[in-house]
């Protein structure tokens, strides 16, 4: 559908097609592919751009020029005027429909930002000199226009933007609260519009979204990803970012800057009355200590995972490593709940290099070996890769009789007693965050069951 003609120019057709099909394509490919494609295309576009400008330069120096003062000056002036007229006219029309109007300042910057370049030059160059005897004059003129816009306007626009204090695009990360509320607002406004009977643009947007979700996404996006709602996807992304930050922040025990406070989940959980906690608890301070220890170890684990860390490239969210992490974590959890609570304190945090060396030489330290003979009831179903991962773990727990320590963690954290509810792949990803403290303590002191040969890579859920 998107391939259909979207206008006369093939360029605009291409752009429209790309814009429309992009969300579906992106959802279908893995994160690695996405990164690869993105940087590959960036490289290509850079190369093409460079080639064209080399060509431009060469033809400036070596081409036949026909300089005509009037024509050239008029070209420059008229192209500027045309740009301004276009911008002003369109914003006049658009502002009628906007609450936040585009101010003169904005319009000026938009008009000023009209740089001519490769396309203009190529179009002129392709003119046939038999039909256009004045071609050389055109060429000269267009080269002059290009030079003018690119050098003069291009170089001065940055100081102008700073000078005029134009509002720039917000670079800040969106917090999850903002995301929740943005969605909430969307629904709210749609609801109010419905009550007023007013088919405003929220109404149509909502309808389009629903249509999109119901029909199109089912056809075009493979597998379960079609169902993943935006909020969950956002939550994933945020967690990924935090995890990456953790890795990048090195082996130190400082937490990512997103949470500089000492508030942990404990503070937020409502205090349970003593009757609720049927089982003995660790003291809170001990909990805190343990959690801290676990967190530092978490950082060291994540360091070990492959991360491609260029300054422009986001560290490859260890696609494989993530799954390892998750498997390992679950195994750990399993282990932990089977045995009594850990007593072995972790070794003091090493520097990253030492850690890496240590871990590299002894990969199995992180692996989880099979040590579950003592617990006959654990049944880990490794057969089908598509079953909800955490599902099988939970089933294993549920069958066990006594879990002396399990609700201690539950009390302190968000974790609940293992439920037999089927959980989708989505959930396990941010259970990570909650169970993060409980994770890999086990690994250091007592390798658990091997989980590395479990199910294969899952595609990254965007």
């Amino acid at each position: 559908m998107a391939y259909l003609n979207f206008g006369e120019s093939s360029v605009s057709r291409l752009i429209a097609c790309g814009a429309v099909t992009r969300p579906y394509v992106e959802a279908n490919i893995s994160h690695k592919s996405h990164t690869t494609i993105k940087y590959f295309l960036k490289m290509w576009s850079s190369v093409s751009d460079t080639l064209i400008f080399i060509f431009l330069g060469v033809s400036t120096v070596a081409g036949k020029h026909h300089w005509n003062w009037t024509f050239v000056i008029m070209s420059v002036i008229l192209s500027l005027v045309a740009r301004v007229l276009g911008v002003v006219g369109l914003t006049f029309v658009i502002n009628k429909f906007r609450i936040v109007k585009l101010t003169t300042k904005d319009q000026f910057i938009v008009a000023y930002g009209g740089l001519r370049g490769a396309i203009a030059f190529s179009l002129v160059y392709l003119l046939d000199s038999r039909q256009f005897p004045m071609r050389n004059m055109f060429l000269t003129a267009i080269i002059t226009v290009i030079f003018f816009t690119v050098f003069v306007q291009g170089m001065t626009i940055r100081p102008l933007v700073d000078l005029l204090a134009v509002k720039k695009k917000q670079e800040t990360k969106r917090s999850i609260n903002e995301e929740i509320h943005t969605q909430f607002l969307d629904h709210l406004l749609t609801g109010i519009e419905d009550i007023c009977g007013h088919y405003g643009h929220h109404h149509w947007k909502d309808k389009l979204n629903r249509f999109n979700k119901k029909y199109i996404k089912k056809c075009l996006i493979a597998g379960e990803r079609s169902k993943e709602p935006q909020l969950i996807a956002f939550y994933h992304k945020m967690e990924m970012k935090q995890a990456i930050e953790l890795v990048e922040s090195g082996g130190g025990s400082k937490l990512p800057s997103a949470m500089p406070s000492t508030i942990s989940m404990q503070n937020i959980q409502p205090k349970k009355t003593p009757q609720d906690r049927a089982l003995p608890q660790l003291s809170k301070s001990r909990e805190e200590e343990i959690r801290k220890i676990l967190r530092t170890n978490l950082q060291r684990t994540r360091q070990r995972l492959r991360s491609y860390n260029r300054h422009t490239l986001v560290a490859d969210p260890f696609e494989d490593g993530w799954n390892d992490l998750i498997k390992r974590k679950r195994m750990i959890e399993l282990e932990k709940k089977m045995n009594n609570h850990l007593t072995v304190p972790a070794p003091p945090p090493d520097s990253p290099t030492i850690t890496r060396a240590r871990l590299a030489s002894d990969p199995q330290a992180w692996g989880i070996k099979a040590g579950t003979e003592s617990i006959p009831t654990i049944k880990v179903d490794l057969a089908s890769p598509q079953t909800p991962e955490s599902g099988y773990m939970r089933d294993g727990f549920g069958s066990k009789a006594s879990q002396p320590k399990e609700s201690k963690e539950d009390g302190g954290l968000v974790m609940k007693a293992p439920s037999l509810a089927k959980e989708s792949k989505d959930k396990m990803a941010y259970e990570d965050d909650d169970k993060e403290p409980q994770r890999l303590m086990r690994c250091l002191s007592d390798p658990g069951p091997a989980a590395d040969e479990e199910d294969e890579d899952e595609p990254f859920l965007p």
Binding site: N177, I180, L185, I232, N267, Y430, E431, D434
Partner: protein, 215 residues
Amino acid sequence: MGASQSGRVPEFQDLTDKTGFSIEQLKNLHNRFVYLTQDEDTLRREHLENMSDLALNPIRRQIIEAFFDSRNLGQKEKGCLQEIGFEEFVTVLAFFKPPKPHIAEEERKTIKKEKLRFLFNMHDTDNDGVITLDEYRRVVEELLSSTETLGAETAKAISDAAMLEVASETVGQMGPDEFYEGITFEQFMQILKDIEIETKMNVHFWNLETMHCGK
């Protein structure tokens, strides 16, 4: 209809001053009100619940509640009304009026505060002035309830992370034994200050001719 319409103009005049809608908009809204209530005098919850358009909205319960919440209607006592008249209907809708383009900074702040207050009231269902974890959790659950692949775990995790964030940002340091009661209105304002609510939370009332009135 002419006679009854003209009889309403004086009361519309009061409403104009109170809510900021124009007479034209008020007339259209009144038509809509009459359509919704099927010619009765007051609007009740059932009228709104019977709307088919609203059925697909995940937070429709809260939206409907918001109309009957006496905090939004400017009344001192807390609680909800069972039925509302046209005046209350319009008062609630006035929260969604876009601010005029050139207004002073303080006025903009006031408007922003009012809108945020409306949102806050929508979340704070037990009227205690704080959004507790449970309430927030319910909000997230409802938001995500339109998708099938949701379990309680998801909503819990998300809402917990959200609360954690709010607490971190607003309170800063807290000992492990202190308990964070919930989000107060000031904290709510603080965390949402970056969303420009006064520009986003608006419905265009200027084009009310597209309303469906009477059928």
